[in-house]
Symmetry: D2
Subunit: 281 residues, 4 copies
Amino acid sequence: MKLEISAELKYIIRSPSTLILNIHALRSQRQTVLEEALIVEPYVKFEELSSPYYENRLIRMELPQEEEILISYKAIVDNFYRVIDHTDLSDVPVAELDSSVFPYLYPSRYCQSDKLYRFANNKFGHITNPFLKVLTLTNWIHSHVQYLSGSTNSQTSAYDTVTELAGVCRDFAHLGIALCRALTIPARYFTGYAYKLYPQDFHACFEAYLGKEWILFDATKLVPLNGIVKIATGRDAADSAVASLFGNLNCKDIRVSCEMAEQNFEPLYYDPSNLKGLSYL
Amino acid sequence: MKLEISAELKYIIRSPSTLILNIHALRSQRQTVLEEALIVEPYVKFEELSSPYYENRLIRMELPQEEEILISYKAIVDNFYRVIDHTDLSDVPVAELDSSVFPYLYPSRYCQSDKLYRFANNKFGHITNPFLKVLTLTNWIHSHVQYLSGSTNSQTSAYDTVTELAGVCRDFAHLGIALCRALTIPARYFTGYAYKLYPQDFHACFEAYLGKEWILFDATKLVPLNGIVKIATGRDAADSAVASLFGNLNCKDIRVSCEMAEQNFEPLYYDPSNLKGLSYL
Amino acid sequence: MKLEISAELKYIIRSPSTLILNIHALRSQRQTVLEEALIVEPYVKFEELSSPYYENRLIRMELPQEEEILISYKAIVDNFYRVIDHTDLSDVPVAELDSSVFPYLYPSRYCQSDKLYRFANNKFGHITNPFLKVLTLTNWIHSHVQYLSGSTNSQTSAYDTVTELAGVCRDFAHLGIALCRALTIPARYFTGYAYKLYPQDFHACFEAYLGKEWILFDATKLVPLNGIVKIATGRDAADSAVASLFGNLNCKDIRVSCEMAEQNFEPLYYDPSNLKGLSYL
Amino acid sequence: MKLEISAELKYIIRSPSTLILNIHALRSQRQTVLEEALIVEPYVKFEELSSPYYENRLIRMELPQEEEILISYKAIVDNFYRVIDHTDLSDVPVAELDSSVFPYLYPSRYCQSDKLYRFANNKFGHITNPFLKVLTLTNWIHSHVQYLSGSTNSQTSAYDTVTELAGVCRDFAHLGIALCRALTIPARYFTGYAYKLYPQDFHACFEAYLGKEWILFDATKLVPLNGIVKIATGRDAADSAVASLFGNLNCKDIRVSCEMAEQNFEPLYYDPSNLKGLSYL
């Protein structure tokens, strides 16, 4: 499935600064970047960093002078995904879990799973099929948390959202992750470009580790699950920020687009009566 | 420097459980485990897990039945460390930081550096030598936070400690880490066995990334810095817990010892008039 | 209904201190203190303070020297209550609310109703009869929050309990109050001696202002609602602490008793099919 | 000292609502309202509520229909204050404190003095003169907390501000109050009109109970202490909100003015070398 994505970010630099961007489409076995270009105006040198721990592609740029810069990224991406039947799935006990996923089992800055243990287990602990368990908690978030732009800020965490019941995609994802981890299901934050997201912006959702695969979930239900271009995964937004700013600089404008570059797209959403999950990796 | 360490942990298992222990001395270039033994009574099978992301040695054991078990670990470790002069050290700007240390620059569960930015920069931002900066904040923690057993719990974080001003070694370390990160200095949690710690227990302190080395700091000042056997490092206690429990089981007793196995030990503490830091790795 | 109550408190004083106790049975129109005695050994002077704002009887004592003191309070109380039918009750709109109850409508230290607005309204906002609304939220607390001694501390607030779902009578009361206020129903903290409470201790529950009466609710359901001797009411436990300590002193022991001093007691609990509420004042 | 004050508030009402305003100049022994007028356009009936507990003048209005209303308040106020020399002031021990000020000694929603005990006592506990103690903590807030519009929201409390070190007048006042209470000095929230406040708005500061008088402090230092018209006092902003909204309505605009109506105004600020405090009541 080919998608055409773009992002334009405008920054005002007031002192020598460093900017780390995480807006490039990930290159992976299932996601091929056919074409891409990053243009910075006026010209600034930048480097792409390898990421030993997390799946992402970081661009670091030094911004030595006061000015306004415009960063434009464009790419055409070919994206594969698998649909996996989880009807017969049973829990992977911790005793069999691959230790590489342990980091996604422990609490993190915005996903205090340690504080949600009783809540998660009371509400969802009785569901035996782990896919249905995550799907049910995703649906619970969708029906209980109000999507409300501007209702949260960069400090808002899953512990706030579970009570305040309002937020944006980032908050929906953090709560989903925290609930999974409280149920001993590894889960991680996922950022991407999303087809049919209105208004267009970077999107955040999450992956749960089920049956030795990372399965995608999106409690916002704003977009079809199979129209997403992955940028990065991490423990939560602290790891996977679209931009990390060091110095005195501000983002003035963000424009994002994500269009289907081929025909015959059939949108996929989950259905509790049919336990099929989607995996990008 | 040879040290003899031991740990005895007693658990009561009430239902089939999984236990992940992180009590083994780390094997590293500078730390050689000369002898070691782990005995579980009654006998339980266990496996050592490789750790792709974090430096630790995890032991996982399945505990299928209701019983009381006693886990005994003993080792003799030969430990090297370097003393590095930081007199001429200058900040490594983010623009030159190796991306492998980025995970230690972002906020984590117990180290909300994003909330301490103004505090850290107001108090310590003016200090130009980064070793002196971290040493000064370590001394600030030591003189402002009261070491008080039982004053905190497993949910206590750096954000609490900076105001409540009481805690144990874990809290001292979390606050040190959070302040470093707020000053754009990567920092990580460090657990170990510590010579001359009274009462004996597992110890926690932290490492800051200075001049491309991980330098040890301990705001508790309870032990000489060169009498420590490293167990693990991680983002914070969420990553590096001595024990992670899954199931209905309880720790009933912990006994730890750490003795010098050679003579001529000269205890090393930091001195602000002499900018020498200690690195174990 | 006559009840015999007693409280014995042992304090260790380490420096000159002041102690304010709130353990006396309230004297009110509906509660007559037939006999009472307060004995402090060794003898210390104390005074009873009038309470202009809150309904309580405060005893203040100066403790000038290092020693151990034993405070013994005993009383026989005659207690009246009314059972009020709320079948036809409708909301008192804020526009008609007596301004004397406003303090019980706003958030307080342990009852952050401002943060629970969406939660309370989503869950209970649709219930039209205000008695049934409060009864339903009381039942929700009872069935979702686990009564667990030692699970909380003096800093635990309704905002914690609504997520962590464990606590003691104080936490149950704080959550009930916060939910009422979030629903624009004035609510206040209530402390007392409770018949049939095991193990015996001071008890906490809450009153909601319904139909111009303060109606008693107890989310713990540990005791019959009509076997309670009121000590005090306030905004939350910050106002109505059994003891406020100023100086270096510690409580070493508390013993409480509450016995029925007459026969024919018929325990009263609420029943959602029969909207009758109990009012002590 | 005569001052001319005014406030204009514009609300959009989207459903039948109740609005409680607290914008009237307080009538007290030391503050005489010479003239005043409240006009609501289009006309809406309103009532002034007596306040049994708190010193304020509440206006309640029912807003039955969807519309935009403009509320205009104007007054001329004659204001007296006393300047009190605190050079020889010593602490009023709790043992001698009038019980009517107890509510201002306990923690409240935005002033969690119970969490700031160690912080306050470490930093300010050694200062023996209580006026100097409060003046010193006020100066500490002024020099450590950045006045930054938009940095906080309606949930921000003293516990946040003491670490995050940014806020507006409300946050400065809450932190001052919390620190006083942690030092066993009763303190309360104070709202008013302030001469020379730029940009003009309602102002918040606090009063500490020293030597049996309520003495004014303002950690923002934005205005002369003797150019203030008192609106209300309370435990914190939960008690003394300028406006409490019940229903679906929004404030669209606020305009405030405060002008001196007589000549020869000599601005008064505190001076640590001269322990004179100002009391309005």
